[in-house]
Amino acid sequence: MAKKRPVRPTANKAPVKLSTRDKKTLSSITGLADGVVKAAKGRRDPYVDIPSRTLSNVRYSARKRIIEMGNSKNRRQLFDLSQAKAYMRTMLVASGCKQLIDQGKTTSLRGMFYMLKHTIEKTKENTFDDQNECDTIIEDVEVLLDSIREELHLYAENRGAMVGNITVIDRGDTIDCSRMGSGGYAIPSIVEPEVIQLDRKKCDAKFILHVEKGTVWQRFNEDRFWETHNCILTHGAGQPPRGVRRLLHRMHNELKLPVYCVLDNDPWGYYIYSVLKQGSINLAFESQRMAIPDAKYLGLRSIDFDRCDLSDSVKISLSDSDKKRAKQIAKYPWFEKKRPWQTEIQRMLKNDFKLEVESLISKDISYVTEVYVPERLEAQDWLD
């Protein structure tokens, strides 16, 4: 049985030229399938070992200053009652990615979900019932094949925007980010060099200012902050997606631009900073490509309420879960040894309220762009 036929992309009507990266990805997908055939022939239980994406399997590398994935793996077996379905789904996703690569196309996560969703023969059971089930399996396949989402020809929804004194080339189109109007340049989900090319010569900006969300970003854009201070202005719509993080990483490393963050003064803001700087637990395998250990935290700070003389009305009191989260964050190894950060978090807990960036509007509409950020930058007053 199972005579292996050579893989022929010629099976498709129009032969697609595969890049070297695609070839590499394809060979690891095929390796996965071959493993199943081999196990079946040997009357063994087919399995895959998936590096585990949990808190217990990440560690902080003090030298590289990023979160790295450990070596522990979870075995997923076909002939295990609780894993059989997940195993089947893993294989489905792998075959789906193979199909995409073969045809040289990309699709969204949701597209993949629809591609693979069908009713299993002779049952009423679906392969996938909702997109979350599919998304986690895709992440599994990423770590399993050691190829990132982009290499599997998958992308997420565009999120985040950019303006500033920089010109990039996106799929051959030249984009001048200083002429993006009020909307800005939407940062795509895939920002790998094949898609977006950066050029040092076409970048005048001296630094990157990353803000938490679109509304604040709008303020800065409207005030032409990037023009007056000669910088690049980005936002990540909350927790920045991979595309934004990867682009920041590339600009930081390839264009040697420092990154400053203006985030809310709450545990969530701290965490966004932590993810930008060290990487996240779930995507620890991508820290190498995304984390920016030199990113700086410009604000808001818990001392700002007094320092900027804000009115009481802007306080938002901390919920129990906020407090719990703050204490957790204070114990992260990358914050634990930093005195300023400990003081910062303790101060917030003592304040017993949080502050959003928008709260500065109570002083003046443009206080944040005209006074707050320039002052901080001038004084080099930031947390590292």
């Binding site: 049985m1 005579k3 292996k4 399938a33 055939v37 196990a39 009357r43 195993y87 193979k98 059971e125």
Partner: protein
Amino acid sequence: MAKTTSRKKKPATSQAGESATNGTAAANGTAVRKSRRRSDAKSMAANQKEISVSEFFAKNRHLLGFDNPRKALLTTVKEAVDNSLDACEEAGILPEIWVHIQQTGNGRYKVGIQDNGPGILKKQIPLIFGKLLYGSKFHRLRQSRGQQGIGISAAGMYGVQTTGKPVKIISKVSPRKPAHYYEIQIDTKKNEPKILNGRGDGVDIPPGEKGAKVIEKHGIEWVDQRHGTRVTIELEAKFVRGRGSVDEYLQQTAIANPHITLHYVDPEDYEYEYNRSADVLPPEPKEIKPHPYGVEVGRLAQMIEESDPMSISEFLRSKFSRVTPAVARKLCEGAKVKPRVGVRKLDRTHADAIFQAIQTTKISPPATDCICPIGEDLILKGLHQVVPGEFYAAATRPPSVYRGNPFQIEVGLAYGGSAPTQNVTMDLLIELLEETDTRTVRQFLIHTFNGLGGEGADKIVKAAALKTRQAPSGLKPKERERLFDAMKNINVAEGQQMEVMRYANRVPLQFQQAACAVTQTVVGTNWRGYGLSQSRGALPKGPVSIMVHIASVWVPFTSESKEAIASYPEIQKEIRLGLQAVGRKLGMFLRRRMKVRQQSDRREIFMRYLKEVSGAVSSINGVGQDDLYEELLKVAKKVTADADMKLDDRGRPIEEDPKELDLGDNVLIVDPAEHEAAINRVEKVDEGEEEEYEEE
């Protein structure tokens, strides 16, 4: 007028002081006059007289279970049947009982109960049926159904009061002697029977052909027997089905008394037959003397007072069980009474001292051979006969003691069987819909089908596409059909609650479920370990029926109405142990069944995904999909080898024969497919009818 004013002025003095101090009244002079008193001791004495017990109970009939017409009917049947069973068993006759309920008018029913017992002597008949508190059971400490000797005569009294019709009794002692026929009314003033027929002397019905003619002429019912008694009472009543009904009582009685045969004709002329599944009478219970621990100080003092002259030591030895000479000596020492002193010389303080001594002295527990449990075998038979199901277990605990009274707990469990809703026929459903007084279909379902619960009812109503607030009486034929289909098709077992049947000395307890020690213990037991789901503080769910029987010489009821058992820790402990014993067996049965099912499920799951996996792999590396599938199938077979063993040659999973399961004794497993008689009884119209009521 002047008097009135003065009274108004000094209300405090006159009213508070009056009865206490005549002096004050006198001191007040003429202002408060003697004539102000409404009555005096002399005139009041004229109105003070003895209240006869029958008058008392005639006014307070709720104390005896005649609160409402519905309960009155049940109580009447219950008292008569209990008496019959006690009489038969005492005489050593396998009981056969006939119960006939007929409607005679609006809200009026005639209840006839006949047994094949020993019969009653002529002169005793009026006393037994026409005098309250006349009986043989009150003064002895012995396990029996009745205790006071009040029930049947009270039923007769209720009948006379509500309809004016006398109680009719026929009793026959031997086939050769004439049967006695009495029509009796109770004279509530005197608590005396008043015989109406035969000029106050009753009528004798000669044996044989001649008698039959007389019987026919009088319009009395009598199923010809060699001996026996029939009592007919006409009373104001209401016949209902469902919880707390006569149907339920008779069914539960049949379960706990597998040695009886019961014929029952209900007012709608349905006939039910419960045939005996055991041909042996339960052993005769022995009468015992009270145990010192069970005696209260007042009772002790009374016993001492009433005793014949003897020494205190002899008194203790002879009037109580388990008091040896050594124990008697110890008690006397403890009470600082000389053992030789005569009982007549003792007073209350001595009695008190002896009582205290009893509490601090160690006395061996009472003999327990005076109790006769139903027995595990018979519980299984009884349950199997009446409750449909596939798994039965029973446990009889060893006897134990509470407050000096020996008692014994028995537990039976029936699992499975179809839900009551699934047993109904269309005709019956229509009838039920007509007779119900509930406002909505949902309520109708909950009330009519016991154990169904709100969840199940909701499911059925939803499946039948009926409106939530639809009235059951206003259903159109089409809607009825939909309801019927929904009832048949919906599996309500998930939401179904365990049904708890409680018995005290083989008598079913039907009311005050929540107040009863049995229910409380069932709720307090963790059933999750035995494979049933259970919310905190609720009865477990599932198609399970539990029967708990407490046999004792003195069953501790929470009230005179004998509806709930008091929560003595000793009793609760024994109940819990019994429940756990049957629960463990149920758990084993369910786990085993689950395991067999899981193995074949497991195989199925793998098979299901193998196709997908081989398809995906083939699309990646181009291997033949079918070849790979075959290969994987072989691996699957190897992996699920044990499940494989249970597949027959066509690859279909075989349910392992659960009979192979070694669950020890006292377990009965029935193949539900072969147990149709028990599950779908309704098809046999006459017999099955009440099942689904009773089940509820």
